[in-house]
Subunit: 348 residues, 2 copies
DNA sequence: CGTTAGCACTCGGAAGGTGAGAGTGCTAAT
DNA sequence: ATTAGCACTCTCACCTTCCGAGTGCTAACG
């Protein structure tokens, strides 16, 4: 942020942002002083506000209304004015306890994390299940469903399971399938999708066809991510007053339905290990520009990762959201680390 | 319906219901005659309307407003006045074509069916993936994720896959797991959950523990259904004018989030093979009483079934919804029948 | 020079008033 | 049984009015 703000300007900006986030109404000089004793007169506050407006941290919705933060104002707030709050320890304990209570199942954890994030932030939370960045085959299984219908089940190193129905032109017996499976499984174990594909090209017949399907199933598909995306708290975000302009609500639902929120977002994410905040027009995707997003990736290593995020109107509780996302993403990482072993460093 | 309506009363009721569904505004005698030539005067229509109101088919929202159908009115309409329309053949062909285009995957079909149902009805559609009523084990797989963490993957006859993480007190090698799997799989194949449990009780040690977990995984869980439920068209139903009272929208989201819509509904469903319509207060569940539901089950036999439904305000296009649900549920059944073989009739 | 008091001005939104339009029910005539 | 006529009711859209919160400016103050 190029311009330095004076101590007093910072204080005023901070209070305005906080009050506006809390109440949702534009903040005027007088009402600000009614709640906070700043030791100066309304006129002084007005002058400072005018200055902040010149510097694009605030705007007037109408001539005679109070001020509202701009995206730039939020950005400054998040960057410099937010003492990075941890979640209160009691809350941390409660949450840890909740995770201890539920089934030991990744799907369950992911869902619980989403629910808690939505709760803490009062907005919508999105979580993708952890997936291997470069998936390797662990195991596949061929099952004859009917004389010429085969079910292929593929398990990756990360434990992801995918099922595909393979219609065949000719009937195949279960025992033939079992034969193929027993022969190929040791050969293909621990290979990546391109590697499996490569072997398939050195083979012919049914085995080759199956290998190609296996290769295909390992590669994490775009639509996969969409259908696995877990979201909670839609009702909360729809209740935000800014959603009453149904255009906005509609756009959000559209984004969510298409799973587009994350696919719009992901290219923008740097996978460092802290929380990222993207405010309004900072979003590359035009559709996301009325929203604020707080995200972090989580996972065991560089290999197995997922994304946890909170989406709300730009007027959202950044402080709470950031601490929630930070805590939950670390907690998920921790849980996953307990479950997965270190990736075998095999390429050959 | 105890009372018989005269020909003319029927016609008027039908027109009112249709107009009200179309426009969403209360219908008056005059405006009805402006759109439809009935060969009688407004006063006559008024008298008939008064009669219909006495018989509880219609209500006045206000003294000087037109009439609106009651749940009873809708019921009569659905029961007696709706010539059971099929979907137009051209639409049928288009839809079949769409199913032909997509991946051969049950998940995909289910999602597509939901999308199309939402489209056709302009409301929200819900579909559960097909599940075995009495699931039998097909195959399970044990995978060592880490020295003392085991991943259990269970595949049922219906092709459903479930994964469970089993933390162990002591480390187990992959080859031990493979041994157990090879020994138990033939023994347990084709058994139901209680049957597996029974065998577990005749065993001890690790094998017994695993068998118990397998038995547990076969049994379809309540929450399972919830997390697998596919819904489409939420935006459409939220745009309905009756949803602007945010109480109603909120209730719907609540129901949807908890997966409660189906669990509230299922006990009420008779599994015959035609479409069922449940209107407003006919719902047992109080929370569903402001809504109308059109559902049908689908599946291959009595064994493998799912549910497809449309949910909207009581003012919803019953005709179109019924034909959509009927067509799509039959189509899904057809597709499934092609995929699954006949259930083996094994119990011994 | 920064701060403050004072003041004229602006504007949104709530409150209240009005009229048109749609609809009704009743009665009496056909 | 049907209908024309009529008095009556109520909602809704529209307008006006008015209050309050808020502003920007100017001039005075320490």
């Amino acid at each position: 942020m190029q311009d330095e703000l004076s101590e007093r300007q910072s204080t005023i900006l901070k209070l305005i942002v906080q009050e506006y986030i809390r109440t949702g109404r534009a903040i005027g000089s007088k009402s600000l002083l009614e709640r906070f004793r700043l030791g100066v007169s309304p006129a002084t506050v007005r002058n400072e506000m005018g200055e902040l407006e010149d510097q694009q941290f605030l705007v007037h919705p109408h001539t005679s209304a109070g001020r509202v933060p701009t995206d730039r104002g939020y950005r400054y707030y998040v960057e410099y004015l937010l003492e990075d709050a941890r979640l209160p320890v009691t809350e941390q304990i409660t949450i840890r306890h909740q995770f201890g209570q539920v089934e030991m199942q990744i799907e369950t954890w992911v869902r619980l994390a989403a629910t808690i994030a939505a709760d803490l932030s009062g907005n919508m939370a999105l979580v993708t299940p952890p997936r291997g960045r470069i998936e390797r085959l662990r195991h596949f299984e061929l099952i004859s469903l009917r004389d010429h219908i085969v079910l292929l089940i593929v398990v990756t190193q990360a434990g992801t399971v995918r099922e595909v129905i393979l219609p065949q032109t000719e009937p195949i017996a279960q025992q033939d399938l079992s034969g193929i499976s027993q022969r190929l499984n040791p050969e293909l174990a621990n290979l990546t999708s391109p590697q499996v594909l490569e072997r398939a090209n050195g083979t012919t017949g049914l085995a080759a066809a199956i290998m190609r399907q296996v290769a295909d199933a390992i590669r994490p598909g775009q639509q996969e991510v969409q259908s696995e995306l877990v979201s909670e708290g839609l009702d909360r975000v729809l209740q935000q007053p800014e959603m009453s302009q149904s255009a906005m609500a509609h756009r959000l639902l559209e984004l969510l339905r298409g799973g587009m929120i994350l696919s719009e977002l992901l290219p923008q994410l740097e996978f460092d290990d802290d929380v990222q905040v993207i405010i309004g027009t900072e979003n590359r995707s035009r559709d996301l520009q009325p929203f604020g997003v707080v995200v972090a990736s989580y996972g065991t290593t560089q290999e197995i990762t997922g994304v946890l995020g909170i989406v709300g109107p730009t007027r959202m509780p950044y402080g709470r959201s950031i601490s929630a996302v930070r805590f939950l993403s670390r907690l998920l990482s921790e849980l996953l680390r307990d479950v997965y072993h270190q990736e075998a460093d095999s390429t050959a």
